[in-house]
């Protein structure tokens, strides 16, 4: 009885053959397409030399030296198995290779011949310029970093004291590699944090001045190996146009951070009037507003600071829970911040470089006036008056009210 089913089947076959053929052809073409066109930029992770930090130094006779810190993957894994990470005691997790060239791309092409894997910039978050190079100008090198698709615009930029290469060569005991040390330090916001994008904005913006953190190697402690010193941030380099013109110390840098509203973690220590000892505070909040003003053709800047702090140490005999002593302490706190900011402002004026970006603020508020003086903005900046208005409050006193270790009589309540 199934004989007739078979007959219809034969008929269908003929009807479908053409359709099936075209579908198969279409599928074949579509299926082959990804395999023929794809894969051209496929790179296995094992074929990459992951650059974790790079340093650019000036060499003699118009040459630069590019050094890259490359991560060694096999260093943190013993090939699977027990999953033991052999990084105790600061095992070597990176290697540093350097090569000379007329510019970065030239040096890079030569460097590639020294590395069996393809250099990959995508995770390079630290760029260090040597002092000498910074003084002669970084514009040319900056162009490569911004133009090449791989380097991140969020990478941190630094200037080293002396040569930059040793920064990469140091083997920090706590972190995996020195680039990571610098990045973590910057994230603490103790010094300045300048990314590639920030640097570009600062240099192309109206003020045409930039600031970069300066790094230096902390000498290794006793009994540590020679390379075990870590790089740390010692201050700020001031760049006019793209050339480094001077440096600011750590203390000045902190004032600078206040002005740039980048203060995050700091400790203010001050002495209230008429008492012995000092009080230390940590900020809870800090808001800084910079208001440019032109009054009677006089250029002036008003810095408004609103901050609240928490006491972390009280070395005086003041009982801060009494409003009177609190007021006194707050006044001293206020004075101290005022002093810091003023000092930082004077120092930047000394350098004749508007690394605060005040030019931008003025341009936004008074575009016409600014355009007239744009050419000698630095002179105007250097002579500008500053008015600082600080509102500082102490909000928290920690776990104890009265100073520790003092008897009732010794504490000054009023």
């Amino acid at each position: 009885m199934n004989n007739s089913w078979r007959q219809t089947r034969i008929l269908w076959k003929v009807k479908r053959r053409h359709f099936t053929k075209s579908v198969l052809l279409l599928l074949g073409i579509c299926g082959a397409a990804p395999f023929l066109s794809g894969c051209w930029d496929r790179t296995e992770i094992t074929d990459l030399a992951i650059v974790t930090a790079a340093a650019i130094d000036k060499k003699d006779s118009n040459q630069i030296e590019l050094s890259v810190q490359v991560f060694i993957p096999s260093s943190i894994s013993s090939g699977g198995g027990q999953g033991g990470t052999s990084q105790e005691g600061g095992g070597v997790t990176t290697l540093v290779r350097s090569e000379k060239g007329s510019n970065i791309s030239d040096a890079l092409s030569k460097l590639q011949s020294k590395l069996p894997r393809k250099i990959f910039w995508g995770h390079c978050k630290v760029f260090v310029f040597g002092e000498k190079l910074a003084k002669e100008g970084i514009q040319e090198q900056l162009d490569f970093l911004l133009r090449h698709p791989q380097p991140r615009e969020k990478a941190n930029m630094y200037v080293s004291k002396g040569k930059a290469k040793p920064i990469l060569e140091s083997l920090p005991p706590l972190e995996n590699y020195s680039g990571e040390v610098l990045r973590e330090l910057s994230d603490l916001h103790i010094g300045m944090l300048v990314t590639l994008q920030d640097l570009d904005e600062m240099l192309t913006g109206k003020p045409q001045a930039a600031a970069l953190p300066v790094v230096k190697i902390l000498p290794p402690g006793k009994g540590q190996k020679k390379l075990q010193g870590i790089p740390y941030i010692v201050g700020t380099a001031v760049l006019k146009k793209d050339k480094m013109t001077g440096t600011m110390t750590e203390k000045e840098t902190r004032g600078l951070l206040w002005l740039r509203d980048e203060m995050e973690s700091y400790t203010v220590t001050f002495q209230p009037k008429g008492v012995k000892g000092e009080i230390s505070l940590n900020p809870v909040t800090a808001q800084v507003k910079i208001i440019p003003q032109i009054i009677n053709e006089k250029w002036k800047v008003l810095v408004k600071v609103k901050t609240e702090g928490a006491v972390i140490q009280n070395g005086t005999n003041l009982n801060l829970s009494s409003p009177k002593s609190l007021k006194a302490a707050e006044r001293a706190y206020q004075k101290d911040i005022e002093k810091r900011i003023e000092m930082a402002f004077l120092h930047t004026q000394d350098k004749k470089a508007d690394i605060l970006g005040l030019g931008k603020d003025f341009y936004r508020k008074y575009p016409k006036q600014f355009n007239q003086i744009e050419n000698h903005w630095n002179d105007i900046f250097a002579k500008m008056e500053v008015e600082i208005d600080v509102v500082a409050h102490i909000r928290r006193q920690g776990y104890i009210n009265k100073p520790a270790g003092l008897s009732e009589n010794e504490v000054k309540d009023k």
Partner: protein
């Protein structure tokens, strides 16, 4: 060639009548003969070489020749003896008049049907109802005494749950329909049945609630079922594949369930349920994509928990489709897209792996699928061996040997678990299958390829229909009110409307504003 096709087409037109005759052949169309012995002879020849068919001849009230025909094992022998043979084999003096009326109305048998077609006789015998023939009567009597061995109602194996009914469908159609009827007692629950399969003559029933279901849906299902010409139906999947809207889709457009409560909830939403004899899996149509991701358990626990689990399921559904491909794409094309620390540790673990990421991923995924399949088919006693081999060999040894990187094992494991989170096994398989083309795309074109794959899948989903209902309903086309069962599992007092796509004749399923609140407390007094 075109001419040939035309010729063949013309030929089939001639053959068409022949084809139709084929089905008639298997079912003799003759009426029963007037002669008793002729009828017995015909039946004997039909059931030639069928040792399980019993021909019990006896004398009706001591004088009339009679024959009882039944199949051993399908009919209740005790009942035949007690209620048929013993009253009919009494002495001649007690013979009632007329005889056929006695048989039809006075015999203590649940169901007696007069049959006069040979085909109906055969049908009756095959389904376990004995046929009584006797001399002088041209009709036969089909006695409703079928009884055969069946499995007890058990917990559904493929769709477990913590809370909710523990009953599952079984292989017997009668028991299954009775389970539906036990839940929905209203006579509005209609159950139409038909037989499909030239040899198996499988009973297939369409259940629906009159007044809720779209009449045209039932018509459509019936016509599609009637179109099936096949020798046998052994599982509801046979039917599913023959009546679904797009046969070349990896996504099921008809849902199967072995839970009566799931079937009933579908009935209450205005869907139709197709029950097939011989399998505990019943079919539900029409469905949408989201029906596959909803589980009975969502409705059997607090709505917040239900919503949470539903979102968890959506998330892991995405993972089960995309995780390995994302891993491969990022590792081969987009190294900058992962955090540095992660990239470094992945780079470290991949250092000794000899294969490219795509090969590694494909190999591991295929191995995982093999392990899963082996686990399903194996007898339970051997099952543990598979899991040991899987965990030790695949999980540990391959990493230790440096053939596979540890992150890859984690990715495969998470993907595997994610695919098991789908409450419907079939839907899980769909995603597991689609994973492989996605991985190939990721390995060749990176994230771009993955996007292409996703777009292709979404376009396909948008074009799919299940008995005319858009597959992505109510998301596309968007019906804001109906998202109450998709975006979240609304509390029961907010589930006031039925899905409009399955039937809009009776929209509201409950009284409005039943949400419990303090004001309502006194209302009832």
């Amino acid at each position: 060639m075109i001419r040939n096709v035309g010729k063949l087409l013309r030929k089939t037109k001639e053959k068409k009548s022949l084809i139709q005759n084929d089905y008639q052949d298997s079912k003799p169309a003759d009426e029963l003969d007037v002669s008793f012995s002729q009828n017995v002879e015909t039946l004997r020849s039909v059931y030639d070489n069928c040792s399980d068919v019993m021909f019990r001849s006896f004398l009706l009230f001591g004088k009339t020749r009679a024959m009882l025909i039944y199949i051993a094992g399908l009919s209740d022998i005790e009942a035949i003896e007690q209620y048929v043979l013993s009253p009919l084999m009494q002495e001649a003096s007690k013979e009632p008049q007329p005889l056929n009326e006695f048989i039809e109305h006075k015999m203590p048998v649940p169901k007696v049907v007069k049959v006069n077609m040979l085909a109906d006789c055969i049908e009756s015998i095959s389904s376990g109802n004995p046929i009584l023939l006797y001399e002088g009567e041209s009709d036969g009597f089909s006695l409703g005494l079928s009884k055969w061995e069946k499995r007890a109602i058990e917990e559904p194996v493929a769709e477990g749950g913590v809370r909710g009914s523990r009953e599952g469908f079984i292989e017997s159609l009668e028991v299954n329909t009775s389970q539906l009827r036990r839940i929905i007692k209203s006579p509005a629950l209609k159950i139409q049945s038909m037989k499909i399969g030239t040899l198996t003559r499988t009973n297939v029933s369409i259940a629906y609630i009159d007044g809720l279901v779209d009449k045209s849906l039932i018509e459509e299902i019936t016509t599609r079922l009637e179109r099936i010409k096949i020798d046998g139906i052994l599982e509801s999947e046979y039917i599913e594949e023959m009546i679904e809207d797009n046969p070349f889709s990896p996504f099921p457009q008809i849902m199967s369930t072995e839970r009566p409560d799931v079937a009933c909830s579908s009935l209450l939403e205005g869907r139709a349920v197709i029950l097939v004899e011989g399998t505990p899996f019943t079919l539900i149509a029409p469905i949408s994509f989201f029906s596959l991701i909803q589980s009975q358990e969502d409705y059997a626990q607090r709505f917040m928990a239900g919503t949470f689990i539903r979102w968890l399921r959506y998330f892991f559904m995405g993972l089960s489709l995309l995780l390995p491909s994302l891993y491969v794409a990022i590792l081969t094309f987009h190294h900058e897209a992962v955090p540095t620390a992660l990239l470094l540790s992945v780079a470290a673990s991949r250092e000794s792996v000899p294969f490219p990421a795509i090969v590694e991923a494909l190999a591991m995924e295929i191995t995982f699928e093999a392990l899963r399949e082996a686990g399903v088919r194996l007898p339970k006693q051997v099952g543990s061996a598979v899991s040991i081999v899987g965990a030790l060999v695949i999980g540990q040894a391959s990493v230790q040997a440096g053939l596979v990187s540890a992150p890859m094992v984690i990715v495969v494991a998470i993907t595997g678990i994610a695919s098991f989170m789908m409450p419907r096994y079939i839907a899980g398989i769909t995603f597991r299958m689609l994973r492989f083309p996605m991985m190939l795309l990721a390995g060749t074109l990176g994230l771009l390829g993955i996007m292409m794959g996703i777009i292709a899948i979404v376009i396909h989903l948008c074009s799919l229909r299940s008995f005319g209902v858009p597959y992505l309903a109510p998301l596309a086309p968007l019906k804001g009110k109906e998202l109450k069962d998709v975006l979240w599992r609304a509390p029961w007092w907010m589930m006031d409307t039925r899905p409009s796509f399955t039937g809009d004749s009776n929209v509201y399923r409950q009284a409005p504003e039943q949400g419990p609140n303090p004001k309502r407390g006194s209302e009832t007094e």
